[in-house]
Amino acid sequence: MTAAPPSNHPKIIDNDTELIQAINSGQIEKFPELVRRYEQKLYNFGRRMCGDAADAEDLVQDTFLNVFRYLKDFRHETKFKNWLYRVAASTCIKKRRRSKFAPERELSLEEFVPGGEPGSVAQVPDWAQIPLEKLLNEELVQTLNQAILSLPEPYRLVVVLRDMEGFSTEETAQIMNISGANVKVRLHRARLFLREKLKGYFAHDV
C-alpha cells in the first residue's frame, strides 16, 4: 500500500484503468463507481475470511478507505482487482491480529494422509460422484463456510483466493506476497483439510 519505487514493469490495462485514471486526475466523484464494481466481491471475501457479517462490513469499509487513500500510489503493474485484494487481505490480517479468533497453526501433510489397514477396500464415495447441482444446498454451503472459517488464516486466505475468488497461483502469490511454491503447498493442505470436513459431513470413509 505504500508507494513503490519506480520500476520498468509494463502497465496493465484492464476494465478499471480508465476509471482509476479519472479518479486520480481529480474526478473523485467517480470513486463510488469503483466501489459499486467491487463491493459485492469484497463483502463475500470478508464473509469468508471473517465469518461474521459485521466484521465483513468493517473489512469492506476499511478496505475502500485504504483504497481511496492509496489509489494514487497504484502503478497499474497488476490488474486493479489484484491490488484491491492485496489491500483487503492486508486489512483483514491486521484486523485478525487484533482479534483472538484465529487459531494459528501449521497444517502438516501427514495429518491428511488417509489411514487404513493394508488391504482395506477403498471406493469412491457417493458424494464425489453426484453432480454438483444436485449436491449443493444451503446446509452444505454452511458446512463448507464453517470448515473454511476453521482453517488457520494463511491457509484460509489461500483457498479463498484460489478456489472461491478465482485468482491464479501467481496472482495469489502476488496478493499474499509469498512465493508460488508456498501458495501451492498451503492450497493443497487447505483443500485436504476441507475434504476431511466434507467427508465428515457426508459420513463416508475414503
Partner: protein, 87 residues
C-alpha cells in the same frame, strides 16, 4: 495411504501433488505418472475424486448479495470522506 498393496511407495509421493495435478500445473511426465497410478490404485483415485469435488464445491458456493442497508451506509460514508475540499 490406503492402497491395497501396503508397500506402494508411489501413493505418498503422488498424494502431495494431487492439487497441482487438478490445477494442471504439473509437467507432462508427472501428470502421466499420476494418471497411470490412479488407473491402478483405487484409494488414490477415490482421493483424487473427492479432492476434485471439494474444489468444485468451493468454486460453486456462490456469492451473497450485499445487504442493502450496509451498501447505503458504505456509500454515504464514502461520499462524506471523499468529498473534495471547498475552494
Amino acid at each position: 495411504m490406503t492402497c491395497d498393496s501396503p508397500d506402494h511407495r508411489h501413493c505418498l509421493e503422488l498424494f502431495e501433488k494431487l492439487s497441482e495435478y487438478i490445477d494442471q500445473e504439473l509437467e507432462p511426465e508427472a501428470r502421466r505418472d499420476i494418471e497411470a497410478h490412479v488407473a491402478e490404485c483405487l484409494a488414490c483415485f477415490a482421493c483424487l475424486q473427492t479432492l476434485k469435488q471439494t474444489i468444485a464445491l468451493c468454486q460453486k458456493a456462490g456469492d451473497q448479495p450485499v445487504p442493502a442497508a450496509f451498501s447505503r451506509k458504505l456509500h454515504a460514508m464514502l461520499q462524506t470522506t471523499t468529498k473534495p475540499p471547498l475552494p
